[in-house]
Structure formats: structure tokens, C-alpha cells
Amino acid sequence: MKKNYLLLCLSIFSAIFSQAQKVTISGYVSDVATGEKLINANIFETESLSGTISNEYGFYSVTLPAGKKQIQYSFVGYEKQNFQLDLIKDTVLNITLKLMGEIDEITVLGNRSKIESSQMSMVEIPGSKLQKLPVLFGEPDVLKVIQLLPGVQSGTEGTSGIYVRGGGPDQNLFLLDGVPVYNASHLFGFFSVFNPTAVKTVKLYKGGFPARFGGRLSSVIDIRMKEGNDKEIKGEVSIGLISSRFSLEGPIIKDKTSFIISGRRTYLDILAQPAIKIANKNDDYGNTTAGYYFYDLNAKVNHKFSEKSRLYFSSYMGRDKAYSKEDYYYVNEHIRYDNKNEMGIGWGNITSALRWNYVFGPKLFSNTTLTFSNYNFDVKEEYKTTNTKTGKYSEDYFKYISGIKDYTAKIDFDYYPGGGHEVKFGASNIWHSFKPGVNHEKNGSALEGETTPLDTIYGNADIAGMEFSAFIEDNFDISPRLKLNYGLHFSLFNVQQTNYMSLQPRASLSFLAAENLSFKMSYAKMSQYIHLLSSSTISLPTDLWLPVTEKVKPQDSHQIALGAFTKLGKKFDFSVEGFYKTMDNLIEYKEGSSFTGISSGWESKIETGKGWAYGAEFLLEKNVGKTTGWIGYTLSWAERKFENLNFGEVFPARYDRRHDISVALTHEFNERIDIGVTWVYGTGNATTLGTQQYPGFLPMTGNGYYYGFENDITYYGGRNQYRMPSYHRLDIGVNFHKQKKRGIRTWSLGIYNVYSRQNPFYLYWGYDTESGYNQQGQYYEQSKPALKQLSLFPLIPSVSYTFKF
């Protein structure tokens, strides 16, 4: 038996590595004008149709039989290139492709790879698409475009939270150039932290996760930033209603070193200053100011040491800040006292990555990365009264800090042994440091001779964790019709002298049943060692990132998916996927707990349970021609079961959404005008709403005088049992471009919520009041209970000006 196993291994090994009479072509595929590497470009030999796609760094390697071959290089939106080669020995061929002047009706073979590829449950959005679709306040947003894809549910209105295939908001791994970003939202979730100007491409994986990814249950959002134009200086400035942004890129040493820097900042706080000043005019004794802003800054530098060696350094820094300040004085017994009250809430991420790409040979590509990621959140309140005569003061100071810090070292390899195999393998180690909430309090008064100020720090202790992972995956073209991606992801998490280990098998298989029809299936096990303790319907910075501990176990999921992919005519791609996912060790706040009491003992305030989700996703896409876009439809169920929530009964997850439709279309009339339209429809969110009331039966004391007071208990009939009204909205945006002397200017006009639908944000029981004069001329008021709906955004026009040079 052992002998047979050895023989089997040997034969597989020899099948992979014996490549007699074969030649390898390798190199990079990049944009001719900018030098920007092209990810997922198609490279194939036209006769046998065997080929490959370029990796995240634009590198490719394909091994073919020796002899005369025609190789075609193509990429969506670019002119394809054919090369007649007489393959005698291994060759390095760096290819540049040219962007089409105007997207025409040419069918690009890139679409075909989507049908053939073993990868399923993945959607790629090029950065250029992000700026064409209309969004809230005219601010292009990566996550809001992702929300338009089937299988992805948006959170509350206007927010950029995403819920993938019944998963929670913490189960999405946001990778910005490979670095995890923990809180991906600005302005309480209404904007994401990813500045679209700097984004090259976005890939969303909802299932069928390749083994190289790990650490989250529900999705991977792999965002790659532009590298910077290595030919000439280019830039972009955009002024919008909410924020302005800029981007500048260019060579430092032509064809060798390039950079890109981009940033944006909101200016609500600055614009509001005149109004605040006017408001303060009437106050002789003080000033009040308040404001809110966020900014982010992306920078990336890359240097080519040689054709084999490249170094990248990228960094992101972003912060939100809301503040109020009040200065006033009063006079008491001929002494002036100055009062200063300050309140601030801030949060932000800093990430950095240093990456070194090295090509060991035509078949081996390596990537070594060191990253740093830091997310922190703080709330500060300070009240200070100073006696201006003596200088003595009284103080009341409170600060709350929480956050998470990661250091990562990672190495991975792409190995192209030929024979239809593409092997990726690697390992990484993350050193996590969690700060789950620390309070700093100072108070005391020296005004009246008291000298005992309190200065204490208390809260949850910092927790250190170490996460090691290793993976190997093979993308194997078993035959021209059958492709398999299989692999293993191993992870180990060490925390508080406890080790958690997980071996996660992954597999995706595709079968090309006809030239334009394939069937796919996938299985993935995922494990997650950090939790987001979230209490609210919107993404609040108070949401706490917490590690697994001795008591709180890792989350696990198993997901299977089946799908069919086809082309309808020459222009349309159609896919349907069904999925079933189970999740264990999910956490939720205990009933009645909320973040307001989380300053200590968080482990005792949570419940663990399980969840599952299943459904079907339909996607009709058109990626070529003047009109492009997609229509997506999702039918899904997402449920949860916690022993101590909802009395142990199954309940719908908060974003269980039966039907979800999204239409996202762009049309280019000509070089000067393009239009984007989106329409979304979703079943209303599940919410817990009281239906009945009954008297409480609380213990009485004494004479029972108070019995019956404030005793009505509301009956809910189950957690998340009520459906809010359905959500739908139409957005339209038009871009007017004009070639100017020094560049292209674009006016973007947009309307969010064109027909001003009042979508539900929050429901509550209130009263309708009727009043007037009765027949006797007496004024009366009468009220009756009514269900009330709060909505956020009506029709909102937006305008922005962009200049590209």
C-alpha cells in the first residue's frame, strides 16, 4: 500500500516537472503609456489555446513545446498583440499593450478566460470603472461599487459596509496592496477609506477562495494601488461637494523609478466656520466651534533594480476627526474664571508595505513583503475651569483608546513548472497587538483648596497574538476542458498561551462543456482569529476588534458553491452561482449589552453561536462596446442561532435579504460625454420591532403604591422578525470631458436617489397627533400609536470638477 502511494506521488511529481522539449516564455505585461503593470492579462498560444494570465505584479510565465508559435497578449480595453515566435530556448518577453482610443465592438478574448478559469465567485472591477458610476455626494467609492455586485449586501443606507453571502461586516478581508485594513470607513461608514484615484484594480472573492488567502470567513477584497507612471508626470485634481482630491504620479528615474501620491480631504469643517462665527457673534462670553473632517493619503514608490528585481514601498494614512470646543468665561466675586470644554472623537488607519519582487528564473517569481498596519480609535473629553487670578484650576478629563496593530512578514512564490501547472506557495507571520479599550481619567479641583486629583488608567489589558500561515496551491489545467485549483492553507494563532490551528482545504474545478459554457464548483474552509464586536446598525468606530482568547474561539466556515458561466452572443457574459455556507463561533453582544459598557470584561458581554447562508446569484455582464455594465440578482437566506439570544431560536441575520437586484450601466456617447446609471432594489432589512404590550409583573414593596408605573413590557415575537419596507434607489451621473491645452477637464454632475425614495433607515413606534378646534371652538389634541420610519437621504444633486494632466 505504501509502495503504491509512493509510486502515485512520483508519477504526479514527474507529470509536473518533466518538461522535455519545452520552452518557457516569461516577462511582464504593462501599459505602454504609463508603464503600469497589467494584472490578469491573457497570454496564450493561438493554436492550442494553452496559456496563462499575468499575476498581481504583471508577471507571466508560460511553457510551450518548442517550435514556431503565435502568442497573443490581450487585456480588456487594450489592443491585443500577436507575436510570431520560433521557440528554441527560454525567452524573456516584456510586453506593452496600448489602451484603445475608444472602446469599440471588438470582442476581447479576456472574457473567455472568465469562462475557462477555475476561479469562481470572484469579480474584478478596474479602477477606471469606479469613477464612472454615480454615487452619494458624487464621491466615487470602491466599496459602494462592490455593493452593486450580486452576493454582496450593503448595510444601512448610504454606508459602505458590506455583507457577503450572509457573513458579517468583520468577515471581509480588505487588502490594500496586500496589507489588511481594519476599519475601512470614513464618516461613520458613509465613505470607504480607499481613494479611487489611486486604485488600479479591485478583486472581490466571495467564495472559492484560493489557498493563498486566509484569515476571514466571507470575502477577500484585494485592492491594488497604481504603481505610478514611469514615463512622464501625470496628475489629477478634483473638487467635489464634500471633498477635494488630488493625485500625482511620474518617474523619478525614467523607466526605473516611479511614484504616485494621492490624497483627499473633506472640508465641511472649513466651510462651516463662517456659520459658526455668525452664531458666536451674539455671545459675548465665549466661543463654540465644532467640526468634522477626514483625510487620507496614499503614496507608493517603486524602483526597478533590474528586469529581475523590483522594490515597492506603499503607504496609506487616513484619519477621521469630529470635535467640538467651547471657550467661555464667567465672573464670580470679582474673579474671572475661564472655562474650556473640549470633546473629540477620532479614528484612523496607517498601513505601510515594503515589497520586493524577484524573478529567480523564467519559472519562479518571488514576492517578499514586510507590512505594518495600525488602527486606532479614541474619544476625549476635557473640562477645565481656571481661576485667572491664582492660576489654579479644576479639571475633568476622560480619554478612551482602542485599536489594533499588526506587523507582518510574508514571502510567497509563483512557480510555473509547465504541464498546465501554476503553483503558488508561501508563508506569513503576523504579530498582532490588540488594545481592546483603555480609559484614562483625570479629575480634581484645586480651585477651592482641594488637592486630591484622581488620575487613573483602567480598562481591558492589551492582548498580543501571533498568527502564522502557510499555503500551497496549484492551478492545474488537467485538460483543455478541465481546470482545477486546489490547495491547502494552514494557520496557527497563538494567544494567551493557547494555540489554535486550522488546516483549510480549498478546491475549485471548472469544466468547459462547450466553447462558451462552463460549469464550476468550489469548496473552501476558512478560519478567522479576530472578531469585530459591533452593536450598531451602522459602522461605528466604537466597534471593537478583538482577538480569539482562551474563552472566545476562532470563527470557522465551510462554503460550497456551484455555478454555470456562459456567453450570450458576442457581448454578454452570464453566470449563475449557488452557494451554501455554514459559520461557527460567531459572536454577538449579549442581549442588553452595548458598547457603552464595554470598558472592561468584554468576554463576559458576548454570546457565541452559529450561522448559515445559502442562495443563488445571477450576473449578466457586458464588458465591451459603448454600453457596459451589469445586472445582478441575488436570492438568499442568512440565519443565526445563538443559545442565549432569541431564547435559542433561529433568527434571520440583520442583513438577511431575500431579493437583491442591482443594475450598473455606463454608456459612452462619445469622447466628451459618458453617463452612468445605477438602480438597486433590496428586500427590507430585518429588524426587531415590538408588536404587542403587556403589563410587567415586578416585585412590589411596602404598600404597593408604585405598582403599575412604567411597567409595560413590549413583546417582539422574535429577533429580526420584522421586515422594513423594501429599499430601492436610482442614481444617475454624467461626465462631460473636454480636452484643454494642458489636459482634460471633466465636469461630473450626479443625482443620488433620483426619484427621492424615502428608504427606511430606522423604524420605531411613535404617535400621530391630530389637533384643531372642535365645534365648540375649543382646541384639542389627540394622538394614536403609529409606526414611524426615519429616512436619511432624499434626492441629492452633486457636482465635481476634475482636471487630468
Binding site: 403587556y694 416585585p699 408604585y706
Partner: protein, 375 residues
């Protein structure tokens, strides 16, 4: 001008929110049977039977169900059918156009002849036309005796005048082998001389022999003991008033042990001027207990059923988080299958600490609210 337009745009856009009434289209709006009852050993069994009311209803009162059939089972054997003994009253509400609407309401009281006994299980099976039938069951827990009481009193001053704090230690033994649930309650009654408030400045004061009894809404028992930690009541205060009239705990930390449970009694009246039943530092003669002023603090250690514990625990959270938009609403636990409410059972033991003398020979005691509201 442009800036002004921008501000207008931004403020409108960012802070616009609108509210409207929408139609409720969910299920669970049909009223259900509500059962309430607390069985006490030695007392006849009683239950209150109501119907719940829709949140869309504008009724002022909960209507009882006088036509319900309430069957009582003791240790799984049918005993009797409870009789309706509700008290009827009418409430009149003035509506527009001088319309007066009358609401007839009753307290839904059903009573049995059977007397509850410790250790026995009592089940109700209730049916009523137009409603889903309900059942509920409870077993009367044995009381846990308070074996000893200690008090340590200290007077402190943190800047607002002297304050008297008393540590009160209650000794009891938690029964072994069973999971036990408790409730701590306190009651405070004070007595003061009738004519205290009727004296005039400068007049000589002759204490009357009539003492008014006041049920204090503030008993001020601070829950300093760690047994209260497991349901977030640590450092809370039993007020005795509706806000907080009880504290619950279980034996997860003290199972089978002899336990000394400590609470702090905080007396806000002490030394604070005005009326005080205690001897004050200023030695105002009317504050002296020799004239009949007193305070009486009763602390009850109540054994409760698990279901009642869960009901009270969830009800506490339910009321506390009702208006917190950052918290999921907290449903209240119930042991009424098919309906709502609680069918509870309790047994208690108590201690009383009297400061002063009560009753004092020669004094007449009148409840304060009866004295001022004789009708």
C-alpha cells in the same frame, strides 16, 4: 455667495432626515393571553389573566379575560378550576367634540381554594375563546433562612456634610446540590411626629403623640457584594422605588456555601438638616428618637424560581435599554407557553433593623398618605 450655497447644500445633504408614518405589515398583532402570578407558600393560589394589546391599539388599559377557563394542576394532577374574582372599574376619556369614551377594565383576578405548599409543582392550563390556549408551571422553592445579621456603622464626610453608612451583613447557607436563585428586597418605613411640620419659628414646640408613618421610596441599599456581579447589578442601588426595587443574584459563586452577604445602607437624611429620625449633631430635640421618631429597614432574602429570575433579569435589561438605539431590544423571558407573562413562585425570610423605638407605648400611628388623603 458661493460659500453660502455650499454650506446650504452640505447641511441639507448631510443632516437631512425625514420621518413618516408607515403601515405596519407584520404578524403577531393578535392579542395573546397574559398570565401573572406569584405563588407564596401558605397563601391560596391566585393568577391574573389578561389579554395583551397591540402596539397600534389606543386602549388605555389592559383588558382582563373574565371568561377564561383556568385549570389548576398540582404535581400533574387536576385539582380545581380557578374562579374569576376580578374587580371592575370604569375609566372615562375625553375625546374631541365632547365625546367621552368609557373603558371598563378589571384586574383579571382568578383565585383558587388550594393553598400553595413548598416543593409542590403547580400548573395552569388556560383557554379562552378567540385565543390560543396557554400553559405555565412552577414549583415553590424552599425559603433560605437568614441565620445571623451584623451591622457596622460609620459616619463619614466627603464635603457635603456627615453621611451615615451602615454595612449590613446577612448570613445564610446556600442549599447544596441545587441551583438557587435569589432576590434581595428592602423596605423602609420612617415615623415622625405629626406636628413637626406645623411648628412655627420661635414658638415653643411640644411633640404630639401622633406619629405619621411614611413608606420611603428611597431605601438606599448599595449592592457592594460580588454575588451581584453576574448580572451587571454590582454597585447598583436598590431604591425601593419603581426604578430599582429589587436585586437578583444566583448561587454560581456560592453554591452550597455558608455565605456572608454584605450591602451598604446609605442614609441620606443623616445630618442633612430638616427632618431626621436620627439624633443629629445639632441635637435638635425634635430629631431625638425619644419622642417617637424611628426608622425601620426590612431586608428580605427571597428564594425565587429560575424562570422568575430570568424574567426579572431580562425585564431589567428590557426597561433599561428600551430607548438605546445602540442596543438590540431585549425580549423578556416568559414561562407561559403560547402566551406572555410569568407564573412565579417565591419564599422569603427577612430581617428588620429599627432605629429608635417602634411601636412606642402611648403613641398613635397613622399612615401618612391616609392622614393627608383620608378619602
Amino acid at each position: 455667495m458661493k460659500t453660502k450655497i455650499h454650506i446650504l447644500f452640505l447641511l441639507t445633504a448631510l443632516f437631512y432626515s425625514c420621518e413618516k408614518t408607515i403601515e405596519f405589515n407584520g404578524a403577531n398583532m393578535d392579542p395573546k393571553i397574559v398570565v401573572q402570578g406569584n405563588l407564596l407558600s401558605g397563601d391560596p393560589i391566585r393568577a391574573l389573566v389578561y389579554k395583551s394589546r397591540s402596539l397600534l391599539s389606543d386602549e388605555e388599559f389592559y383588558n382582563s379575560l373574565p371568561n377564561a377557563i383556568v385549570k389548576l394542576y398540582e404535581n400533574n394532577e387536576y385539582v380545581e378550576t380557578l374562579e374569576y374574582a376580578g374587580r371592575v372599574d370604569t375609566f372615562r376619556k375625553q375625546l374631541p367634540y365632547d365625546v367621552v369614551k368609557e373603558y371598563i377594565f378589571t384586574n383579571g383576578n382568578y383565585s383558587a381554594k388550594t393553598v400553595a405548599e413548598v416543593g409542590k409543582t403547580y400548573r395552569l392550563e388556560i383557554s379562552c375563546d378567540g385565543f390560543d390556549p396557554v400553559t405555565c408551571e412552577t414549583t415553590i422553592p424552599a425559603p433560605v433562612e437568614i441565620t445571623k445579621v451584623d451591622t457596622i456603622t460609620e459616619v463619614s464626610d466627603i464635603g457635603n456634610g456627615p453621611v451615615k453608612n451602615s454595612w449590613i451583613y446577612i448570613y445564610f447557607k446556600d442549599p447544596e446540590g441545587t441551583k438557587n436563585y435569589y432576590m434581595l428586597q428592602s423596605e423602609k418605613t420612617t415615623g415622625h411626629i405629626l406636628n413637626y411640620y406645623e411648628q412655627y419659628s420661635g414658638e415653643s414646640f411640644v411633640p404630639s403623640d401622633t406619629i405619621l408613618l411614611r413608606h420611603e421610596s428611597f431605601t438606599g441599599i448599595q449592592l457592594a457584594d460580588p454575588v451581584f456581579n453576574n448580572n451587571n447589578q454590582a454597585d447598583d442601588v436598590i431604591m425601593g422605588s419603581p426604578d430599582n426595587r429589587f436585586a437578583i443574584f444566583n448561587d454560581s459563586q456560592i453554591n452550597g456555601k455558608d455565605y456572608k452577604l454584605g450591602v451598604i445602607h446609605y442614609d441620606p437624611y443623616y445630618g442633612g438638616g430638616g427632618y431626621s429620625p436620627y439624633p443629629g449633631e445639632d441635637k435638635n430635640p425634635i430629631d431625638e428618637t425619644e419622642y417617637g421618631n424611628f426608622s425601620s429597614l426590612t431586608i428580605k432574602l427571597v428564594s425565587i424560581t429560575k424562570e422568575y429570575y430570568e424574567y426579572l433579569n431580562s425585564a431589567n435589561y428590557h426597561f433599561y435599554f428600551t430607548d438605546d438605539p445602540f442596543s438590540e431590544p431585549v425580549p423578556v423571558a416568559s414561562n407561559v407557553i403560547g402566551g406572555m407573562g410569568i407564573w412565579a413562585a417565591t419564599s422569603s425570610s427577612e430581617i428588620k433593623i429599627v432605629n429608635g423605638t417602634y411601636p412606642m407605648p402611648g403613641k398613635t400611628y397613622i399612615k401618612e398618605y391616609e392622614y393627608y388623603n383620608p378619602y
